[in-house]
């Protein structure tokens, strides 16, 4: 079945036109990802209008190319100048830049590129094998479970997205509210149109997204006149020859680190809303803990680069697993991808892979191939990146703003969409200035409709609200939603307050009951294991006299990737 689907997808994807589009996408992503101030989200958002005229497979393959390229592009500026191109490459600079300063920039880049490649391939294989399995689990979900899953996606995004959980939750609620404006999907009644015809249809997803992310980001980038007038990078980065052979040898000696970091990346990606900005730091910390020479970290050791770069590329595969199998975006970039799928009349859900296997596997295959294209186009991207960095930010901002206007107009050929872009650009800028994270808002806009439809379905089946806590999957998601809301306090007070020692054991023990309720054999076994881990953690901490451990060096925060 798997082989049949892959062969079918092969015929769809392996065409000169699609491969060229993907190569162009990867190249654009590599360059955009390398430029500090530009994010992968922005690159993917800006690519979206170009895909309107393309077929579904062509459009999605191009956007996946941008996604993969963007994740790998951040390392170029990180290694050559010490400034990470995207938050996904922050940990890469810890060792990449020192290695470059020691005279081995080619090796640092090579390790980064090949680690990205292996991390991407690893996650592509897991994507092809895990996504159908997760979709099968998703078929068990009823509307109660889906509603709770959306709630969990929003709470975890809010808790990871910034310093203030309340601001994150308000942003998420605001996103849900924006999604209610216009005609509702269930009753066909206009809401909050304030007597205007223009608002009766509601806001199109793309102008809202481009306004919130791209427009507001560009305005933030040009806020400081002096900085905006300088070239993108003042620290002159020079072209270097990538040491491929030496890099592959260095990675071969680090294969356990590579697999561990890739797994961290995939599972961070699977978690709704957690993206590459988190996984690279987590993988770096784990690599340092497991290393025989932890003192070398930060001085230019290969292990640090391998961990960070393999993890951030593997995150993309993980995020796609959740999106393809459940229709829930794994991070903000996949939220955009979900929007793109909806524009192309494709609605991911647990039955999507079974119903449209060729299209689903075409997306998987495009992700797999994009990693090879990333390797091939990396040398061209490096040269292009060095040219782009000579341009001042204000020039790019002015041109891209116009491009945003043309792009969103192309969606429905109505000027109202450019007005939407303007107002949401203003809103996004104000929210940024006031410290409100935008990721929960975007997820709120994307998931608002799904949440409402499932709430309505749940209440149509039964008006018993108790089902939200008596159904195992719903209870499972609600429990992790509660723990995700406590997570910011846990992270802040870990190593300082005794209650934090009970957080992980409590999580393990709380998650076990819904797993027991699910029945069968494997899930109760996992539940039993969680109980055992929880008890073991409690006993070992009791034996140590509830001694506080020093906190992690790097705090985990979700940033716009």
């Amino acid at each position: 079945m798997l082989i049949e689907n892959v062969i079918g997808a092969f015929g769809e994807v392996v065409q000169i036109k699609i491969l060229l589009l993907m190569a162009l996408g990867v190249l654009s992503g590599l360059i955009a990802g390398a430029i500090p101030g530009f994010t992968i989200t922005m690159a993917v958002v800006l690519t979206l209008p170009f895909t309107f005229g393309l077929s579904t497979v062509e459009g999605l393959a191009t956007m996946i190319g941008v996604f993969v390229g963007g994740l790998s592009g951040g390392l170029m500026s990180g290694v050559l100048t010490g400034i990470p191109g995207t938050p996904s490459s922050v940990a890469t600079t810890f060792d990449g830049f020192p290695m470059a300063r020691k005279g081995r920039p080619g090796l640092a880049l090579g390790i980064g590129v090949w680690s990205s490649f292996f991390g991407g391939i690893f996650s592509a294989i897991l994507l092809m094998t895990l996504a159908p399995q997760l979709a099968r689990i998703g078929l068990e979900f009823g509307p109660w479970d889906y509603f709770s899953l959306v709630l969990f996606a929003l709470t975890i995004t809010a808790s990871l997205a910034g310093e203030n959980l309340v601001k994150g939750l308000i942003a998420g609620a605001l996103g849900l509210l924006v999604a209610t404006i216009g005609e509702d999907d269930i009753n066909g009644v206009a809401r909050f149109n304030f007597g205007t015809d223009a608002l009766k249809q509601g806001f199109a997803f793309l102008p809202v997204l481009v306004g919130l992310f791209a427009f507001s980001q560009l305005m933030s980038d040009v806020q400081d006149t002096k900085a905006a007038r300088k070239p993108l990078m003042e620290k002159g980065a020079k072209a270097v020859r990538v040491e491929h052979l030496a890099a592959v040898k260095a990675i071969a000696g680090n294969w356990i680190n590579l697999i561990r970091s890739s797994l961290i990346g995939v599972f961070t990606g699977i978690l709704p809303a957690a993206g590459g900005s988190i996984s690279n730091i987590l993988a770096y910390d784990q690599a340092k803990k497991a290393s025989k020479r932890p003192q070398d970290f930060g001085t230019g050791c290969a292990e640090g680069i391998v961990a960070s770069e393999s993890a951030n590329n593997a995150t993309a595969g993980g995020a796609l697993i959740t999106m393809m199998a459940l229709g829930i975006p794994g991070d903000v970039v996949t939220a955009v991808m979900l929007g793109a799928l909806l524009i192309h009349d494709v609605v991911p859900s647990p039955s999507f892979i079974g119903d449209q296997p060729v299209l689903a596997y075409s997306i998987f295959l495009a992700f797999f191939l994009a990693n090879f294209l990333m390797l091939g186009t990396q040398a061209i991207a490096l040269r292009a990146f060095l040219m782009v960095t000579r341009i001042p930010m204000y020039m790019l901002a002015g041109v891209i703003l116009t491009y945003c206007a043309i792009g969103v107009f192309a969606l429905h050929n109505v000027t109202f969409d450019i007005w939407t872009l303007f107002w949401f650009g203003l809103l996004g800028y104000i929210m940024r200035q006031l410290g409100f994270p935008l990721a929960p808002m975007i997820l709120g806009v994307v998931l608002g409709g799904i949440a409402e439809v499932n709430l309505s379905r749940a209440l149509a089946i039964s008006d018993d609200l108790g089902l939200f806590i008596t159904r195992p999957w719903s209870l499972f998601f609600l429990i992790i939603a509660i723990f995700s809301m406590v997570f910011p306090w846990y992270q802040k007070q870990r190593g300082r307050k005794p209650w934090t020692l009970g957080f992980l054991p409590a999580l393990c023990l709380a998650l076990a009951p819904p797993l027991f309720m699910m029945g069968g054999i494997p899930r109760p076994i996992v539940g039993g294991l969680l109980v055992a881990i929880g008890v073991w953690l409690l006993v070992s901490r009791h034996r140590q006299g509830w001694q506080l451990e020093p906190p992690e060096e790097h705090e985990v925060h979700l940033e716009e990737t």
């Binding site: 009753n187 304030f194 006149t225 192309a410 209440l459």
Partner: protein, 160 residues
């Protein structure tokens, strides 16, 4: 009392008012005799959550006290000058879209935005004009001829 108010307090009060306005507007939503839940239920549920969160935010901001850093901040206009000008120019571009069209309006917007944000020496102005014509012209050509999108023509080009 005024000195005790910080930026977050103002935002929290605004959010509470916003919830109030939208809650009042939810009574304008048409009631239907079909459907499991009325079209107004879900938005009201969100507004209730938002109201509670905004109240917590207000409480947090009041407890925090006055914002010391804000008192020493540079003037509002100088800090947000570029953003205000760009939003203003974009608004003007939108208002003039029916008259100038996407091509001429876009070129004018890019040229003015670059000249406002960058240096205004004759050489730089010439570069800004070149960048505006080439970039917007190229994008217009791609969307019009390659992607076959009919962009707003404007009254000026329509006469030609």
């Amino acid at each position: 009392m005024v000195g005790a108010i910080n930026r977050d307090t103002v935002v929290a009060v605004f959010l509470l008012l916003f919830c109030g306005v939208f809650y009042a507007a939810s009574f304008q939503i048409e009631q239907t005799s079909y459907g499991t839940i009325g079209a107004e239920v879900w938005p009201r549920l969100i507004l209730a959550v938002m109201f509670v969160l905004s109240s917590i935010y207000l409480f947090q901001s009041v407890r925090k006290g006055p914002d010391e850093a804000a008192r020493h901040e540079a003037g509002f206009l100088s800090r947000y000058r570029n953003a205000i000008l760009c939003y203003g120019l974009f608004l003007a571009f939108l208002l003039a879209l029916d008259f100038l069209g996407m091509l001429l309006g876009g070129i004018a917007f890019v040229f003015l935005a670059l000249s406002v944000l960058g240096e205004r020496t004759p050489r730089q102005l010439a570069i800004h004009a070149l960048v505006a014509v080439v970039s917007v012209g190229a994008m217009w050509a791609i969307f019009t001829f390659a992607l076959r999108v009919i962009l707003p023509e404007g009254e000026i080009l329509a006469i030609w």
